[in-house]
């Protein structure tokens, strides 16, 4: 009995156990997902050690140049602080390391938002009007209207109305209503795509069953 066949049976059983969730939460589903969570966590940790810590930190510290060693002293120290978080009593020592991660993450988020989303999306919306084709122009107008009213939909500022309720300015409310329609169309379109992906996964699992039993 080959190793592939054994793992094939394991894959089949796990698939069956997870599918049992459609009937309801049960023992087999729990066992399957706990096995899955454990294996996935162990695998990702192994990847992090073998492909991040080892090549980017430990190896250069041993075999790297002095410049590399000096440069890596900071992450080595911060990593040491971070490992202190394993023990709850010493977890506070890891605060500087977490602060670096949070600060870098915030900076990457800000930079990515400006250079990766705001400018490209605004530019693409405007550039669509460069096309001379009528249909493209109509599409560009639809996209522009959709973007503008969707942005208006998210407007947060409001004021107290005469009846005591907190509402936005009348025109903004109208624009927000139009924006909500565009948002609904967008989410509906994406939902169709999500369902298509899930349906394809379902079909793939069925084909796996068919292959396992020699069907189809």
């Amino acid at each position: 009995m080959s190793l592939d066949f054994i793992f094939g049976i394991i894959a089949f059983l796990l698939t069956l156990m997870v599918f049992s969730y459609l009937i309801g939460d049960n023992l087999f589903f729990r066992i399957a997902i706990y096995i899955f969570v454990g294996v996935a966590a162990g695998y990702v940790a192994a990847v992090a050690f073998r492909q991040v810590i080892l090549p980017d930190l430990l190896t250069p510290l041993v075999y790297g140049s002095s410049t590399e060693k000096i440069t890596l002293a900071v992450p080595l120290l911060l990593s040491g602080f971070l490992l202190m978080k394993i023990i709850p009593s010493t977890s506070r020592i890891g605060a500087p390391a977490m602060a670096v991660l949070a600060g870098v993450g915030a900076a990457v988020a800000v930079g990515g938002a400006v250079t990766g989303t705001l400018f490209p999306q605004i530019g693409a919306t405007v550039d669509a009007f460069a096309s001379p084709a009528a249909f493209q122009f109509v599409n560009a107008v639809i996209v522009l209207v959709g973007v503008v009213f969707t942005l208006i939909y998210f407007h947060f500022g409001a004021r107290t109305a005469s009846d005591g309720s907190v509402r936005r300015f009348g025109l903004i409310e109208i624009g927000a209503f139009v924006g909500s329609i565009f948002i609904a169309i967008t989410l509906g379109t994406l939902f169709a795509g999500v369902y298509s992906a899930a349906l394809t996964a379902f079909i793939e699992r069925l084909h796996f069953f068919g292959t396992f039993f020699g069907l189809g």
Binding site: L3, F7, A11, L14, V18, F19, L22, R30, I33, Y34, I35, F36, A41, G42, Y43, V44, A45, A46, V47, A48, F49, Q51, V52, I53, D56, V74, P75, L83, A95, A99, L101, A102, G103, V104, A107, G111, G112, A113, T115, T117, I142, V143, G146, V147, F149, T150, I181, I183, A184, I185, T186, G188, L190, F191, G193, V194, Y195, A198, A201, F202
Partner: protein
Amino acid sequence: MRAIAVVLAVATGLLVLIGYFIPTLAPIQSMILNWAIILSGAAALVGVFNLIWVHWGKISRREKGSLYSAILLICLIATLIFGMLLGPDDSNMRLLVNSIIVPVEATLMALLAVTLVYASIRLLRRRANLMSVVFLATALLLLIASATLPFGEIGPLNNFVRPWFQHAWALGGARGILIGVALGTLMTGLRVLFGADRPYGGK
């Protein structure tokens, strides 16, 4: 320690941020980003120990579901040990991925096919408003336009309506959402860089 953390967060964050716009600071930005990558790798190890700690506690306290925690710990530790020794690219480790991670994840994704249909049916019960109606109508239109019938395609739907919605109608809302998310991300990041929000602890 808290004050040092704030200083480190603001200093490293500002250096990385400025590096996006001032090319001369790009090397410093790259160096700090490499530090962050290493730290995220170390955090993964700490996270695994955190996972072990949580489930070991459940087992030691004999809480409900400690059997599952034991199963998880066995699988986790075994995979971690073999993964570190053999490496994640070892054929046996890949076999492990293909026989456990892939089937379970793919099946969980497959469950969504049922879950999403069920949720769509229940949507108008939860939120019977125009937005939900438009949402479902669009979804149904796109689903029909994505399929074919035994006697052939549903002409205009497949060839015109579907592409038009994807290229125009859905695009406007999507861009608006993405721009809005970018604005929110910008403000959230700036609050962290100013030290107003300190997810790493402190006041």
